[in-house]
């Protein structure tokens, strides 16, 4: 780590505004997504989905469907019954339902046919005989033993998928000596990713015994593993290709049943098979943010220093485990940072329900609990007469510290975030000083910059590997299985290589993810790519650079230690007039070996305690955020508008300013959606709004002005000092708005989304209780 007062190094590309390298392809429609690929002779697959939330399958008769002209194959569950799931410890899904269905939308059968209309007619000809089972649309009923558990693996005959109990320090003693305590109970509707590209997969089994799968996935490697496990084909005979992906946000991170079904249908027919989801398919596949109820108690001393958290969470999992075990831990352990919490107790339960599965969505596990915690802290600040900023600064986790649950904190610029947001927003002139209906609020957050645990590897192998090849044309081909799903990781990968080797960006070619040639990276989830891929890329590029420097040393007669890269050349550090062009150095380096190869890898260091679940939430670095939102509430209608968000964010060094701004602005959009109106709306177990018309994401007119305040100091282990900016920027959005609503109308809204009717109702209840809009309460 650099000495604190040493000036931070500057770079030629890193830290500038780098437009996305595939931008020209995207703005012209030339970028190739999965559905843009057409294989000769391909069949179209369609899925028969369950109209029942919970039912035992007595029989499925597919004979009529199978006999229809144009139908190539009909598949039911028993052919490939091997369970799978994204986490190795909770394999509870099958590609097609076996024995019973568990939600409306569960897959009963699949058809491959010459065209979609034929496939749809075949689906209608399938006869299903079922015995209805009791459905469990809400988690509450499933916490005790039930007549017909959704899964046999539910805890002791209940529908509980995962229960976490953690206690660090002594929470009861801390509450006993507290100066003030607060309790907040939050309710959160489920929300979903709403990426614009529906899922799509093409599979092609070929006579050489191989299987190629193109899929809109953000984790090609886990898909690769799941295909192998379920289909019983060794991984080396399966080739997974990731075309451009039209957004993911977590929704394309699980290996999904349709991907396996598509491959199975190709194996059955010997022909290429395409499956393309319609929007209703996307909604019922879901894997979005969990509907959650939480109960947060916080104790503080007279100065507002946090003494203890006591937290419960009841998490509605839907039909599958998905990432749920992680979700259950995260709802606890991600509640603490950016604050020091000396005593902590958590009881979390994730319960299976007969609804579409929830899973990982941007800022997974950290969003709902953060909202409740931040509203609770604001309530405490008000009652203690402490400014919300001061209360948080007093509790800030120091850099290079360890949390009560043994998270290793290295860099944190959280206090700088607080200062920047406070100053730029004019907080001290606004908070509690704006007229009725207008308000400002503070929300803070932190998030993992990559999960420390690769979820599949024993023994531990690198979480990311990058390969480079430089040949006589002067181009550098980069192979890595990292998944750019729009966040800009291809551009960052190219920029890091170009920066280190000293060449123009257009010399660097990011090769499409292809498991035959791309070394493993475990994909775009847990906000891990910048940190892990970035370090691997830097290492690979340094290896390539060193080969060039050795060649330049032979050409110039100066020792390698005296040489450095500059733009498109290698020069003598103290005699910059003596230089070798990049191409000359490259060609000299190639004399004996031909094309240069270089490799780099990243493996996160050991960390975390040795108790059960200790690894959940450990990360090689964390991002930090302090947001101020300013709202304008129409107190007659309850309609409110977020006018501006001051987003102070610590992603370490900013590596691509354009991309970081884009991640923050997009995160704020998504966070506002959950705050202001988005909800997976259910009647019982039936999803009532499976379309983008009825599930409304915010419109351009609803977007606030956003001022990005990027104040992070370099992280000691991050690539060039960088950390994540993909998920952490979402979290602080919601409580900033929630606390601003309180400043505006004197009501704390704990039930999300906060729609205008709830705003009005809250105002009515406050008025009926005789409370003024300003003042303690």
């Amino acid at each position: 780590m650099a000495a604190p007062d040493a000036p931070a190094p500057t770079y030629r590309l890193i830290g500038t505004r780098i437009p996305y390298i595939e931008g020209p392809l995207k703005v012209t429609g030339r970028a190739e997504y999965t559905d843009d690929i057409k294989r000769s002779g391909q069949l179209i697959a369609r899925l028969l989905r369950s109209p029942w939330p919970h039912a035992r399958l007595r029989s499925i008769n597919v004979e009529k469907a199978r006999a229809m002209p144009g139908v190539a194959a009909v598949l039911t569950g028993e052919k490939y019954p091997t369970p799978f799931g994204v986490l190795p410890i909770t394999h509870d899904e099958t590609a097609i339902a076996v024995g019973k269905v568990r939600y409306i939308g569960d897959i009963l059968a699949a058809v491959a046919a010459s065209d979609e209309a034929t496939a749809d007619r075949a689906l209608e000809a399938i006869e299903v005989d079922i015995e209805p089972l009791p459905d469990y649309p809400e988690p509450q009923g499933g916490t005790i033993a039930v007549a017909e558990p959704i899964h046999a693996r539910g805890l002791n005959g209940t529908n509980i998928q995962k229960e976490v109990v953690q206690h660090f320090g002594d929470v009861d003693a801390a509450f006993a000596k507290a100066h003030a305590t607060v309790r907040v109970r939050g309710t959160f509707a489920g929300v979903t990713h709403a990426f614009t590209e529906p899922m799509a997969t093409i599979a092609e089994a070929t006579p050489d015994g191989r299987l190629t799968v193109w899929s809109a996935t953000q984790v090609p490697h886990y898909l690769h593993r799941a295909l192998s496990e379920v289909l019983g084909i060794p991984m080396h005979r399966i080739r997974v290709i990731k075309p451009e992906v039209g957004g993911g946000f977590g929704g394309k991170s699980d290996p999904l049943p349709h991907e396996i079904i598509c491959a199975a249908l190709s194996l059955e027919t010997g022909r290429p098979v395409k499956i393309l989801f319609d929007r209703e398919d996307v909604f019922v596949t879901n894997h979005g943010r969990h509907p959650t109820k939480n109960d947060v108690r916080i104790a503080v001393d007279a100065d507002g220093r946090i003494l203890a958290y006591d937290i419960e969470a009841l998490i509605d999992g839907g039909a599958w485990s998905s990432f749920g075990t992680v979700t259950t831990y995260y709802n606890g352990v991600l509640s603490m940072g950016p604050y020091r919490v000396p005593n902590f107790r958590y009881h979390g339960r994730r319960v299976y329900t007969t609804k579409p599965p929830s899973g990982a969505m941007r800022a997974h596990g950290g969003t709902n609990i953060r909202y409740s915690v931040e509203l609770a802290l604001d309530d405490l600040a008000e009652r203690l007469g402490i400014d919300p900023f001061d209360l948080r600064e007093r509790n800030a986790l120091p850099p290079h510290s360890t949390t009560v649950n043994q998270f290793r904190i290295t860099s944190t610029s959280f206090v700088k975030c607080l200062h920047a947001a406070r100053e730029r927003s004019g907080w001290d002139q606004k908070y509690r000083k704006l007229p009725y209906g207008k308000g400002v609020g503070l929300g803070c957050g932190f998030y993992i910059s990559g999960s420390n645990s690769p979820i599949h590897f024993t023994p531990k192998m690198p979480q990311c590997t990058v390969h480079l090849k430089a040949d006589m044309d002067g181009g550098i081909a980069v192979h890595c299985m990292q998944a750019d799903i729009g966040q800009g990781s291809n551009t960052l990968l190219a920029a890091i290589v170009a920066e280190v080797v000293g060449v123009d960006l257009d010399r660097v070619h990011i090769m499409r993810v292809d498991s035959d040639v791309s070394p493993v990276d475990i994909g775009s989830y847990s906000s891990r790519v910048t940190f892990m891929m970035g370090n691997a890329a830097r290492q690979a590029a340094e290896s390539l650079r060193d080969q060039l420097i050795r060649a330049a040393s032979r050409l110039t007669g100066y020792p390698p230690a005296q040489l450095e890269v500059a733009h498109e050349k290698i020069r003598v550090r103290h005699r910059p007039d003596i230089a070798v062009d990049y191409l000359a150095a490259l060609h000299a380096a190639m004399e004996r070996t031909g094309a240069l190869l270089a490799t780099g890898a990243y493996n996160s260091p050991p960390m975390g305690g040795d108790f059960k679940g200790a690894r959940a939430g450990t990360a090689p670095a964390y991002s930090f955020a302090a947001y101020v939102a300013q709202v304008d509430v129409d107190v007659e209608t309850g309609v409110y508008r977020v006018e501006k968000v001051w987003a102070a964010f610590d992603c370490g060094r900013v590596l691509n300013r354009l991309a970081v701004e884009g991640q923050i602005e997009g995160s704020i959009h998504m966070g506002l959606g959950q705050m202001m109106g988005e909800a997976m709306s259910y009647r019982g177990a039936r999803l009532m709004n499976p379309s983008l018309l009825d599930y409304k994401i915010p419109m351009p007119q609803q977007m606030p002005e956003v001022e990005c305040l990027l104040v992070g100091d370099d992280d000691p282990e991050g690539p060039f000092g960088g950390k994540e900016a993909g998920e952490g920027p979402l979290i602080a959005t919601l409580p900033a708005v929630g606390n601003a609503l309180h400043d505006a109308v004197g009501v704390r809204y704990h039930d999300l989304p906060v729609t205008p009717d709830k705003v009005l109702r809250g105002i009515e209840v406050r008025e009926q209780s005789g409370r003024a809009w300003k003042g303690v309460g």
Binding site: T196, G247, L692
Partner: protein
């Protein structure tokens, strides 16, 4: 989608200036005709319900949702797709602005936005920010929060980089 029952219908279109004659089922939608029959895959399918705007093309210069447009009902008309507004080499000013301002992330919605915004700037060369927002309100983007899209359109209108 969901076709195959009725009598096939001749459809004659000018697509990006090229006259094209096809015979297709009466329920063939314009989006499928473009993507499947003509292999013009720049136009994207996001919802099939007219809710996302990814499939925006022009009919006689006017932005329409091709997923809600029956191909036979636009027979004889001029169709312009993203391929038709892209210069033979390089990018249009608006496309360049989308790249430079970070107005495209995953890119799946981008062709639709380019079609909508190109028509806006052709008809209203100097739109206000609310006019831009209103014009693009039928196109969904989940990545950018629209901020950089509005910026890119405004920058193009003002002739600045």
């Amino acid at each position: 989608m969901g076709e195959g029952m009725g009598e096939s219908t001749p459809v004659r279109l000018r697509v990006n200036g090229v006259t094209t004659a096809l015979v297709c089922p009466p329920e063939r939608i314009l989006l499928d005709l473009l993507r499947e029959d003509l292999n013009l895959t720049g136009t994207k399918r996001g919802c099939d319900l007219g809710t996302c705007g990814c499939c925006t093309v022009w009919v006689d210069g006017k932005p329409v949702l091709s997923c809600l447009t029956l191909a036979r009902l636009v027979s004889g008309r001029d169709i312009t797709t993203i391929e038709g507004v892209t210069p033979a080499s390089g990018l249009s000013d608006l496309q360049r602005a989308f790249v430079d301002h970070g107005a495209t992330q995953c890119g799946f919605c981008t062709p639709g936005f380019v079609m909508t915004a190109t028509a806006l700037l052709r008809d209203h060369p100097h739109p206000t920010k609310p006019e831009i927002e209103r014009a693009i309100a039928g196109n969904l983007c989940r990545c950018t929060g629209y901020i950089k899209i509005v910026e890119a359109v405004a920058a193009t209108a003002e002739g600045r980089p």
